[in-house]
């Protein structure tokens, strides 16, 4: 409520200059925000620098061969990152292949099909999945998922798809595929909730355009909703991939922790994050420790490269059609 003005001038209520006391929150907020932004940059730089410092010994000793060497042998003090890069990429890829269709389908159901009363409860349950600690997923993986996979799903896969090299070989239970499935469950909430936001942002006018052409529900989703949202959905998948690449605890518990490279998804594997978590406390030699540091550096680099590649793919997705009647 404005106080009655002392002056009789009609313009007196509007200040021509702002007193310093009014301007300082503006100025201090500006500096605080800048400080926060700079802090993040400094933290990233520090992490990168520390990782580099820690891994200098290994970098000097092995050179670029570290990235392609498949031997990881603390006894002979020879270290290579390739099995871990392979394990990280493959387990994340499996997770994406499972989680993206599932997450997008759930989001479609929640935005386009589900009765309004059902939407909020399902959203809450999906988001609760994100609140379950990683180690719990790992325990559940060891005691519930893996026995079931070993005795049922894997056996079935081997019988029906055994002609593919992916589904051959001995079934141990702990495996690349088990890790992929666990990670898929863990990245499902983020993919679902981001996809849901993306689908909700599709203008209703787009849906109506399709309905007005006599499209059915499914056709509306295909021509109006999914095609409009495809860039955003791709972004949701990239976010999920980012999570999958760095996931540590649950993966360590179910992947088998063997630095092997096998075409079979039933074979155990190892990821960059898992080996760091597992072996950091037992790294007895300087070179061993330094190699683990370098694996950390590689993990950061892999994550960045994957994200950059995804950004480039996202850009090419915007390209137009040919106009030819096919």
């Amino acid at each position: 409520m404005a106080a009655p003005s002392v002056s009789t001038s009609p313009h007196s209520a509007i200040r021509s200059t702002l007193p310093a006391g009014v301007r300082w929150p503006d100025i201090s907020f500006r500096w605080l925000a800048l400080l926060a932004a700079v802090t993040i940059l400094v933290l990233i730089a520090l992490v990168g620098w520390e990782l580099y410092q820690g891994s200098r010994l290994a970098i000097g000793h092995f050179g670029p061969r570290f990235l392609v060497n498949s031997t990881w042998n603390p006894v002979t003090d020879e270290y290579g990152a390739w099995p871990f890069i392979f394990g990280t990429l493959v387990s994340s890829l499996i997770a994406l292949v499972i989680a993206v269709p599932l997450g997008v389908a759930t989001a479609l159901y929640l935005t386009e099909l589900a009765p309004v009363r059902l939407r909020q409860p399902v959203v809450m349950i999906v988001e609760m999945l994100a609140a379950v600690p990683s180690v719990i997923f790992g325990l559940w993986g060891i005691f519930v998922l893996i026995p079931w996979l070993r005795d049922h799903l894997f056996v079935w896969l081997k019988e029906t798809l055994g002609f593919l090299p992916l589904f051959r070989g001995t079934i141990y239970g702990v495996s690349m595929l088990a890790a992929g499935i666990i990670v898929a469950i863990m990245i499902l909430p983020i993919i679902t909730s981001v996809s849901r936001e993306i689908l909700r942002s599709v203008p209703n006018l787009q849906r109506e355009a399709a309905y007005a052409l006599g499209a059915t529900h499914w056709e509306v989703m295909r021509i109006a909703v999914l095609s409009y949202a495809r860039r955003g959905l791709f972004g949701a998948a990239v976010l999920g991939l980012g999570r999958a690449l760095g996931e540590t605890m649950a993966v360590t518990m179910v992947i088998g922790n063997r630095p092997d490279i096998s075409a079979s998804l039933f074979a155990p594997g190892y990821t960059l994050a898992s080996v760091i978590a597992n072996e950091f406390t037992e790294a007895t030699t300087d070179l061993y420790l330094s190699s683990l540091f370098e694996l950390g550096l590689v993990l950061v680099a892999v994550t960045i490269v994957v994200n950059v590649v995804a950004q480039l793919m996202l850009r090419s997705l915007a390209g137009s059609g040919t106009g030819k009647v096919r």
Binding site: L205, E208, A209, A212, G214, S227, Y228, G323, R326
Partner: protein, 285 residues
Amino acid sequence: MADLSQAKPVVTRPVASAPPMAPRTPAAIAKEPMEVAFDISGFSLWYGANQALFDVGIQIPARAVTAIIGPSGCGKSTFLRALNRMHELTPGTRIAGRLRLFGEDLYAAAVDPAVVRRRVGMVFQKSNPFPTMSIAENVLVGLRLNGVNDRALLRQRLEESLRMAALWDEVKDILGRPGSSLSGGQQQRLCIARALAVQPEVLLMDEPCSALDPLATAKIEELINDLRASFTVIIVTHNMQQAARVSNRTAFFYLGRLVEYDETSTIFMNPSNPQTEAYVAGRFG
């Protein structure tokens, strides 16, 4: 051809609050022989508990342009959307009464709304081309939904529809560009071409020029004039000059009721209802 003398209104729900003035049926409409596209009687519509349309009865002629005018919130857009069952996308709507297109009950239990919309196309207030599709794909998407894959036919329809929408000369060399790269007026004509490509019997237009500049508006009006020969066009408009320019008949809606429906010249020159007269004279609305 519907027989008007047998068109008894079937009111499934008595409307106690019916307007005191029933829409008149002037001699002019009764005597001249016309083919009726929409034969509607006792039509009411509710959004939840709110009634938006009250006991509307109207016969809309085929191969002519019918304008629907009235102040905001009078139910004219709701009425238009009920003609191809687009209102059903809003949950909680309910209708009563009879609505027939060329003698067929569009609300019969066996009729799929998707099929209704293939027969009754629609153009919206804001142009809404599919942004990820090229100009050509935008025009042909409805045909593809209908399973048309014959290339020669698709190419022929593409040119035909764009020519009908008076857009062909402007886009014939850039058919591969995204539909969203066109100007606002061109996008709206692209949407008209998209609606025409499936060869609907009726074209509904919901204030198609309200977001366009006068030049683009003139082009669309010219195009509506040309469509008259082969299509039934029903246009909702806020612009009374536009209604006067493009339509054969005009219906005036007020507070969810059809107040007056007549030849456009009669509505604008010699309306029989004082509310219509006040509205077209610009005294309210």
